[in-house]
């Protein structure tokens, strides 16, 4: 602890950088131990309850010791986070320094005098001392009795001491009904305790707080940004996948014969989407404040859920790649995502996204959130066998349908254009051989 043998130094406490801040996290240190610091320079970045704020240094000197390392969380306001000294030679003497456990909020105390913390914590001016014994569960805030103005008036008029009454209003506030009840009960006889001993404390919840991972933060902020700024609308269409399935099993039998990996429905969907984007390039665009950028490349992101979070690696130039290449790339990227080894070039530069919850999870149909700055995202549901009315009475056929939903940024893609795209997509899915053309 800070013995008196230490040279003069300043203890820098966690600053209160917002009026409601009680604790903070250290996001980043901009100075290292031993660095020279001058007034106005940024020491570190502090995450308050509201924002990340730069904490400025006020003294000239040297940063001798960082007590709370980068990433430290929930540091109480006033808790020592660092030590500065005036003389460079003194830096070394704080190597093994641990702050004295004084949690009292008084940083930059120059003298290390271990004087007992004299300052009294802001004492609430106490109201007249009432015997407290009779109030078992008034809410925790000090001596103040919370009551509505009407209740106060009523209590005053009837000479009822507020401290004898247990509030049933919001947060234990005394309301008119409580006074009425008290008057009624005390009128009837003796001091019948209020019968309902309402336990103001709800049974404690059992929970665990999971800290945000980086990917969670990014996902959260980008999706919130998307939903808040992009005017979404959704178009759903059913696509008959009988021919697609037939083609797939045909192709897979070739693949098996040659020892290749099988082609999935999703690979076909990616290919069809890429070709549809060629046909309707308006959907292959990005909104900016000044112009709409229409891309000549068709790079399709594929959403992959992993244990670490949601990744969307990209298949570049999907319109110009064959199904085996697409299949191979998607498999590889998904593998990399699971191993958390995606490189920036593996997920950057996408122009359109496909999310498939149908195949792996059996989700019938859903609406995805546009992946900014892209203009559209395709949500693929699960294929389902249906009965389709035939030509004559009592005639019917079976067919498999896969519903897909396109979410569009209306600033870029108008409804009819989105519909145009879906028509093209449906065309490729329902007549998969046309993809060869």
């Amino acid at each position: 602890s800070s013995g008196s043998d230490l040279p003069p130094h300043q203890e820098i406490g966690m600053p209160s950088l917002s009026p409601t801040m009680t604790e903070g996290n250290i996001a980043r240190w901009l100075k290292k131990e031993g660095d020279k610091v001058a007034p106005g320079e940024v020491l570190c970045e502090v995450e308050t309850d509201k924002a990340t704020v730069e904490m400025e240094c006020m003294e000239e000197g040297y940063l001798a010791k960082i007590v709370k390392a980068e990433g430290s969380k929930e540091i109480q306001v006033g808790e020592v986070i660092a030590i500065t000294v005036e003389d460079e030679e003194d830096i070394g003497k704080f190597k093994d320094y641990t702050p004295s456990s004084t949690a009292d909020a008084a940083p930059t105390k120059a003298e290390p005098t271990p004087a007992p913390p004299k300052e009294e914590k802001v004492k609430q001016p106490s109201s007249p001392p009432e015997p407290k014994a009779s109030k078992p569960s008034t809410p925790p805030t000090g001596d103040r009795v919370f009551a509505s103005p009407l209740a106060r008036k009523l209590a005053e008029d009837n000479n009822v001491p507020l401290s004898d009454i247990e509030g049933t209003g919001p947060e234990g506030r005394i309301v008119k009904a409580d006074i009425d009840e008290y008057l009624a009960s005390s009128g009837k006889g003796a001091t019948a305790k209020p019968s309902k001993s309402t336990d103001s404390k709800a049974p404690a919840l059992d929970y665990v707080d999971i800290p945000h991972s980086q990917i969670r933060k990014v996902t959260a902020s980008r999706l919130a940004f998307s939903k808040q700024t992009i005017p979404h609308y959704y178009l759903t269409v059913d696509t008959c996948v009988d021919k697609l399935m037939a083609l797939r099993s045909q192709l897979n039998s070739f693949k098996e014969a040659s020892g290749g990996k099988r082609i999935s429905v999703n690979d076909l969907v990616v290919k069809a989407a890429a070709l549809a984007l060629r046909k309707v390039p308006q959907c292959n665009s990005s909104w900016t404040d000044d112009y709409i950028r229409q891309f000549k490349n068709v790079n399709i992101n594929v959403a992959v859920q992993t244990e670490n979070g949601l990744y969307v690696p990209v298949v570049k130039d999907a319109d110009r790649k064959g199904l085996s290449t697409i299949g191979e790339e998607v498999r590889l990227l998904a593998q990399k995502a699971k191993e958390n080894s995606l490189k920036p070039e593996d997920y950057e530069g996408g122009t359109f996204t496909v999310s498939n919850l149908g195949g792996p999870f059996g989700i019938k149909q859903f609406c995805a959130v546009v992946n900014p700055p892209q203009a559209a995202i395709l949500a693929v549901g699960s294929a389902e066998k249906r009965v389709v009315p035939g030509n004559g009475p009592d005639q019917f056929n079976f067919a498999s349908y896969m519903p897909v939903t396109l979410s569009c940024d209306h600033r870029v893609v108008d409804g009819a254009i989105g519909a145009e795209w879906l028509k093209a997509f449906k065309g490729y899915i329902e007549n998969p051989k046309s993809m060869l053309l």
């Binding site: 106005g40 306001v77 940083p107 120059a110 300052e119 109201s127 005053e156």
Partner: protein, 357 residues
């Protein structure tokens, strides 16, 4: 004799000479007081961040030369009235550190009995008519003080300070108009620190030449980072006000802190700008250089002086912390003028109530 580093720019008047008389004692005093002000404001910053000062708090660091230069040119009979950035003006008027920190932390020993807080410092016995919380409202009040001074033939003047943000308020022009009509000894001092609350000067003011804003009233633009330029200008302005009526002084200065404690001060300007001003225009460094170049003290002596000041400030804080908070009944005093039979009370009429004598 010291030459001011920048010439004065005048509007409707002849600027004063650039050479300022001084003494070695004055130079050292300037250094000491300004360093004390700086240290005091930095201590206030720490106290605020430790939640020992609550509510509003506006710091003066960077602008010390204005307070000190003005004080050097006038007497305690001359009145000063300012806005909420008032700690250092109060100190300049002869207030003590103990009063400052007690007031900031809401203790009985504060200059406003701990009931005013950061924005409401007063020292009537040395004609300091306060920090005022309402932007710009102190200027008409200051003109009223000047009226009283003229009426009572006191041969004194009033300095009404306001910021570049408040300079755009209508009431300033109304007060200036009547002051000019009646030739009141009012000096409007615009402390132009170039930023209002979260806003740069150029976003808020069509014409940033505040010294010319008086139109029919003369004005003078002063380097507000140079204590001697401020001193010379205030001397000149006092003379002018006594003889001819109101005048506007624009002090070109800079605040290192944000507007208030809730403004980090780095969103509307770059850190490079702040550190540039610190390096090139800092008012204390300027005096320090003068002291050193005239061999009035050694670097070591100045360092020791700073250490002494730090101790002085720390002691004042410790003393202020020991001081009790005001009594609850104080809530109801100093609200109405005594003797009118009024009664003040809180929401519960029985518990806390005070009848005024």
């Amino acid at each position: 004799t010291i030459e001011t580093s920048l010439p004065f720019t005048a509007h409707l008047c002849d600027p004063p000479s650039r050479s300022v008389e001084s003494s070695s004692q004055e130079l050292l005093d300037f250094f000491r007081t300004m360093a004390l002000m700086r240290r005091m404001e930095i201590a206030a910053d720490s106290l605020y961040k430790a939640k020992l000062i609550r509510g509003f708090c506006h710091l003066y660091d960077g602008q010390e030369a204005v307070a000190i230069g003005m004080e050097a040119a006038i007497t305690k009979k001359d009145a000063i009235i300012t806005a909420y950035r008032d700690h250092c003006i109060f100190l300049g008027r002869g207030g003590s550190l103990h009063e400052v920190f007690s007031e900031l932390m809401g203790r009985q020993a504060g200059c406003s009995k701990g009931k005013g807080g950061s924005m409401h410092f007063y020292k009537k016995e040395s004609s300091f008519y306060g920090g005022h919380g309402i932007v710009g409202a102190q200027v008409p009040l200051g003109c009223g003080i000047a009226f009283a001074q003229k009426y009572n033939k006191e041969e004194a003047v009033t300095f009404a300070l306001y910021g570049d943000g408040a300079a755009n308020q209508g009431q300033l022009f109304e007060a200036l108009n009547i002051s000019a009509l009646w030739d009141l000894p009012a000096i409007l001092v615009c402390e132009n620190n170039h930023y209002g609350m979260g806003t740069a000067e150029w976003r808020a003011a069509k014409s940033p030449s505040y010294y010319k804003r008086g139109d029919y009233v003369p004005g003078l633009k002063v380097d507000g980072m140079d204590a001697f330029a401020v001193k010379q200008a205030c001397k000149f302005a006092k003379q002018h006000a006594l003889e001819k009526g109101p005048i506007i002084l624009e002090m070109d200065t800079y605040r290192y802190h944000g507007h208030s404690m809730s403004d980090p001060g780095s969103t509307y300007r770059t850190r490079d700008e702040i550190s540039g001003v610190r390096q090139e225009r800092d008012p204390i460094e300027r005096i320090k250089k003068l002291v050193l170049s005239h061999d009035l003290a050694t670097e070591k002596e100045l360092k020791d002086m700073e250490k002494e000041i730090r101790k002085e400030v720390d002691d004042a804080i410790a003393k202020a912390k020991d001081c009790p908070m005001p009594e609850p009944s104080e809530l109801f005093t100093n609200v109405y003028v005594k003797g009118f039979g009024t009664e003040s009370f809180g929401p519960d009429r029985k518990e806390v109530k005070a009848s005024l004598p």
